[in-house]
């Protein structure tokens, strides 16, 4: 093989490697949930956001059916599996959470205090509360950049008619939590669950806690 042929072979190999690396990077960037606009119009320019948390995501909408997960309801009333939500800036958002999972307990009890919502409170099945017993928490909805945290009460272990896989029907056992908050200026704000709720993973914080689309996500405020 001549020197020219060797150089050509090396160049071709570099090009192929570059293309493969490019595909790999694009695949990484394109992976994960797609952003949704789940809000529906509420009174006086506000937005309604409806989400649910389930113990097992199920195979209907997810690739990891046994993972704990959030779902969000889109304007056509369908449950969707995405945790990247686009919301308008400087807008009052009324959030309804249907919570179908059992309690796990907070690792840090301090996070059981409701903060950052309108009135620093929430309702649990219609009852206003500003703190939850940390042992009763199943999950949290928290946006640390906004100082917002809402602990989500778990379903009792002996509750009848519990949901096995998400998305869960409202006819199964659940807690209904509501709260409101104002979206900030335009930007990207992460949200997360603080309860170590990833069953079967080290310290309860692997798998769905480290994967966008399950217990973590972003608010794209536009």
């Amino acid at each position: 093989m001549s020197l020219l042929q060797k150089l050509a072979a090396i160049a071709a190999a570099l090009v192929v490697a570059g293309v493969l690396i490019g595909f790999y990077i694009v695949d990484i960037l394109m992976a994960g949930p797609k952003a949704l606009r789940p809000g529906t119009p509420g009174p006086n320019g506000s937005v309604n956001l409806t989400i649910q948390t389930v113990a097992a995501a199920g195979s209907t909408l997810t690739a990891n059916p046994s993972w704990v997960s959030y779902f969000v309801r889109d304007p056509s009333n369908q449950w969707r599996h995405s945790t990247i939500w686009t919301l308008p800036a400087h807008t009052l958002v009324h959030v309804t959470v249907y919570q179908f999972d059992g309690d796990s307990g907070l690792r840090n009890p301090f996070l059981a205090k409701v903060r950052g919502t309108v009135g620093n409170s929430m309702t649990v099945n219609g009852k206003a509360m500003n703190v939850l017993n940390p042992d009763d928490a199943s999950h949290t909805f928290a946006i640390p950049q906004l100082g917002l945290i809402v602990p989500l009460k778990g379903v009792a272990d002996n509750a009848p008619n519990q949901c096995d896989f998400g998305p869960c029907a409202l006819s199964t056992a659940h807690q209904t939590i509501t709260f409101s908050f104002y979206t900030p200026k335009k930007g990207r704000y992460r949200w997360q669950c603080f309860v170590p709720c990833a069953a079967g993973f080290l310290a309860g914080f692997g798998g769905p806690m480290q994967t966008l689309g399950y217990m973590d996500g972003f608010l794209n405020v536009v």
């Binding site: 307990g105 840090n108 009890p109 301090f110 640390p144």
Partner: protein, 283 residues
């Protein structure tokens, strides 16, 4: 008048270049050296950085002057295939080199030791091995450090104000001009609590009480961030702390302790470390 030899010329040029370079460095570079003057530790660290920068300037100037001089003065002026003159060693040059480098290294060792023994900049308090104040000492000490616990968790720092009743808050607020004793720990994985502008960084390890000291001196906001890769949202594990006047700090303590009082009853007693239960999901 005796003509200067090569050695003397290099020294003279070096002194002139050094004087100019150090003046420029002192005027333009040292004021922007990290970590700034936000606290006593930060100021000490910056002083160390200033000294090291000026020493480095002297060394760099010597190297550049020497090489420049050699390249210009001893360059081969005509093309030739012949060998250069044999190098047989130069006792004076060797002596100067050994003495200069030895003095430089010993100076830096002495300077570093002095700075460490003085407790400057390391965040370790007044002495390199600085013991935490016991509760008895806290009562008897005239001006005890303010004890604040930093609790790291994926992915947020929370703060427990030990000297102010032990309430916990998501806000990092400290009074200016008072020594603070930080107790840094973690509830899950390894984090690192870092305030760049105050020159303080302490590992937050689960099961360990890592103590660091700082004395903020300027009122204003400080950026806090995690300096240890700790999972999906490590890049979002940042916060803004506030350094306020003593009266503003007292007001913060009063309002915040009231705000979080509903949850304070659920907090465990203050401990340097926590082994939370459940460590794993109950399910």
């Amino acid at each position: 008048m005796r003509r200067l030899g090569h050695f003397e010329r290099v020294i003279v040029i070096w002194l002139v270049v050094s004087a100019i370079a150090m003046t420029l460095v002192a005027i333009f570079l040292t004021p922007i050296l990290p970590p700034g003057n936000g606290g006593a530790e930060a100021s000490s660290q910056r002083f160390d950085n200033e000294v090291l920068t000026l020493v480095s300037t002297l060394v760099c100037a010597l190297i550049f002057v020497y090489f420049g001089y050699v390249l210009i003065v001893f360059r081969q002026r005509r093309a030739t295939d012949g060998d250069g003159p044999p190098i047989r060693g130069h006792a004076r040059a060797q002596l100067v080199w050994v003495v200069t480098t030895t003095v430089t290294v010993l100076f830096l060792a002495a300077f570093g030791t002095y700075e460490l023994l003085g407790g400057a900049g390391g965040g370790q308090g007044a002495k390199p091995v600085f013991k935490s104040f016991s509760s008895d000492q806290l009562v008897s000490a005239k001006d005890p450090p303010l004890q604040v616990q930093v609790i790291a968790q994926q992915w947020q720092f929370t703060y427990r104000y030990v000297s102010n009743g032990g309430f916990e808050s998501a806000q990092f607020v400290l009074p200016a001009n008072r020594q603070v004793e930080l107790h840094v720990t973690s509830l899950d994985v390894i984090h690192s609590f870092w305030i760049p502008s105050l020159g303080v960084k302490a590992d937050a390890n689960p099961g360990f009480d890592n103590i660091a000291y700082l004395t903020p001196t300027k009122v204003g906001n400080v950026r806090i961030q995690c300096a240890e890769l700790c999972g999906l949202f490590h890049g979002y594990m940042f916060d803004t702390g506030r350094i306020v006047s003593p009266s503003a700090f007292a007001a913060f303590v009063k309002s915040q302790s009231q705000f979080v009082s509903p949850v304070t009853k659920y907090l465990p007693s203050f401990s340097g470390k926590y082994l939370p239960d459940p460590a794993f999901r109950a399910g």
